[in-house]
């Protein structure tokens, strides 16, 4: 069981390195904020300990854990959304490909940039 978990952990680290090193510096703050909301998954853990709590100390610990995790997850996602909303290609100008994602153009250059910086 532990070994399987450990394998999952290590492989996830590699996936994380791969995916995140392609995020351009422009988005590093929303990235960190998004990563922050993802570790709000600890809410699931907090729910589990609340379920197994059957005494006062257990309830208090579970309450604090649930509140902490809920703050983390709700606040994290809302603030990330708020930030990303501000990133606009052109303000109130009718540029043709404004909405269409262009994963080839900008992302390849920025991943190259970041790759250079990270190595």
């Amino acid at each position: 069981m532990l070994l399987t978990d450990f394998i999952i952990f290590v492989l996830s680290l590699w996936v994380g390195f791969e995916v995140i090193s392609k995020v351009p510096a422009t988005l590093h703050t929303p990235l960190m904020s998004a990563a922050n909301s993802i570790h709000g998954i600890v809410l699931a853990g907090a729910v589990v300990i609340a379920a197994t709590a059957h005494n006062v100390i257990g309830y208090i610990l579970a309450f604090v854990a649930v509140a902490f995790a809920a703050m983390n997850v709700v606040g994290g996602y809302v603030v990330t959304g708020r930030m990303l909303k501000m990133f606009k290609r052109r303000v109130a100008a009718p540029v043709a490909p404004a909405v269409g994602p262009s994963p080839n153009g900008s992302s390849t250059t920025s991943s190259a940039t970041i790759g250079k910086a990270a190595s």
């Binding site: 999952i8 988005l27 998954i41 699931a44 854990a65 902490f68 290609r89 262009s102």
Partner: protein, 468 residues
């Protein structure tokens, strides 16, 4: 029946983890990033609901347990929502630190509670991640609160050092790790209490000596810690969603930590031990002037800008400190309407967290294609008529290219390659590194002595009179 049920729950966790990965992947482009965040939210909702169903299925939860969960979500979620809606973009690093703190704290609590319920006779496969979770989670909790306090200005952002601080840190680390080993060998609540206390104090004493300018590294590092703590919590309660999510965040924090440290040309160890990362606002003790420095009036600077073909704006933290993002965007808009090619050169550590300056400019409605990264923009300076430097100092200092200075080897923006340079600055004060900026004495450089906000407003007004 139970087997099928567990399989379904595990598959939902797998779907949630896939959503997190996909969500992060979509953040590689500002055009798709919002969708990425939504995908991530969907994964989170699925994982939490699945956990709720799992808990019901196990049938161990009592009514009080449900009340605890409901009340916790209402209180915590409400606070998080309030904070997220109200926070100013300049205060984003503090908020991220607070979320790091509560995330790490929650992870530690999960392990502590699990340890309490199992008590003695825990297998090493549980006690080792439990101890790691408690140590990392506690350090993150107290360290992030101190970091947030420093960023908010509630605690001095100058490095706070006490005699023997390093020895104290070493002792605390030894107590935490030694206590952890002891708890693994012979589980006891008292032992765990000692580990918690030592870790909490270590978090405080670790962050206190670190200065304001080093905050981007500290926040990234604490982010990595939180992710790792959450992954450990996943080991403790044997939940793959927590392990995968925690590992992703750990990787993200790790990458950002490395990028930030590289951008300052300092090792992570050097930053954590406290160095020149000194105070917040550079103290303006010296008066205007100095040898070989030429100053310029608003009208003359405006003429240079208005008749340039290409202008690059170099914003630094001073711009954010002066709350002048909107003023700089207004000037850039005006210049663009005159046909000037305007872009922004953003150094990785311009701001108090990775990418902070980009968010501040995006808030001022600057279109993101104009925000250029250092490696992308540096070759462009040679083709630039005017480089307008606002509130950036050390990251423009050509002295970094020579060995033997405090910033030697630090990657800088090649502002001095531009045909003409205008620096908006209140005085000849030093940056964080505390050394003279050789850019200011360059014959191509003109100093416009003004507060960033007022100076930019004056420039905009002067350019407007040229048009009229």
């Amino acid at each position: 029946m139970t087997g099928t049920f567990n399989t379904v729950i595990q598959l939902i966790y797998l779907a949630a983890a896939s959503c997190f990965v996909l969500g992060l992947h979509l953040m590689n482009n500002p055009a798709t990033a919002r969708r990425g965040n939504q995908v991530s939210v969907a994964g989170m909702v699925a994982a939490v609901l699945a956990t709720g169903v799992l808990v019901i299925h196990l049938g161990v939860i009592d009514t009080t347990g449900w009340i605890v969960i409901g009340a916790g979500i209402l209180v915590g979620g409400g606070l998080g929502l309030q904070a997220a809606r109200k926070v100013r973009m300049t205060a984003m690093p503090q908020l991220v630190s607070i979320f790091n703190a509560v995330g790490g704290g929650a992870a530690a609590l999960v392990a502590i509670r699990d340890f309490m319920s199992i008590g003695s006779g825990v297998a090493a496969s549980v006690s080792v991640p439990t101890v790691l979770d408690v140590i990392i989670g506690s350090v993150t909790f107290s360290g992030s609160i101190i970091a947030a306090g420093k960023l908010q200005g509630m605690i001095t952002s100058a490095p706070v050092t006490i005699p023997g601080a390093r020895i104290l840190n070493l002792l605390l680390a030894l107590v935490a790790v030694g206590g952890g080993v002891y708890v693994i060998v012979s589980p006891s609540m008292i032992g765990l209490g000692v580990v918690i206390a030592a870790s909490l104090v270590f978090g405080v004493s670790m962050v206190m000596p670190i200065g304001g300018a080093d905050m981007p590294v500290v926040i990234s590092l604490l982010n990595a810690f939180t992710g790792t703590a959450v992954a450990m919590a996943g080991f403790v309660i044997n939940n793959t969603a927590l392990i995968i999510a925690g590992a992703l965040v750990g990787a993200s924090g790790g990458i950002l930590t490395k990028l930030m440290a590289d951008a300052m040309n300092r090792s992570i160890a050097n930053i954590m031990l406290g160095g020149f990362g000194s105070g917040d606002a550079p103290v303006a003790v010296e008066g205007a002037g100095g040898a070989g420095v030429q100053s310029i009036a608003a009208d003359d600077a405006a003429i240079q800008l208005a008749y340039a073909a290409k202008v690059i704006i170099v914003p630094g933290y001073g711009l954010a400190a002066a709350q002048a993002q909107h003023e700089v965007a207004a000037l850039a808009d005006l210049l663009e309407s005159r046909g000037v090619d305007v872009s922004y050169a953003i150094h990785p550590v311009a701001g108090r967290m990775p990418g902070h300056m980009n968010v501040l400019l995006a808030e001022a409605n600057v279109p993101y294609p104009l925000l250029k990264e250092m490696d992308e923009v540096n070759p462009e300076f040679a083709r630039t008529d005017v480089a307008l430097v606002i509130g950036a100092n050390d990251v423009t200092n050509p002295a970094a290219r020579r060995p033997g200075t405090a910033i030697s080897g630090m990657p800088i923006l090649d502002v001095d390659a531009a045909k003409s340079i205008i620096v908006i600055k209140r005085s000849m004060g030093h940056g964080y590194a505390g050394i003279d900026n050789e850019l200011y004495t360059n014959p191509k450089t003109s100093m416009f002595f003004a507060d960033a906000k007022k100076g930019l407003a004056e420039l905009t007004a002067s350019v407007k009179t040229l048009v009229a």
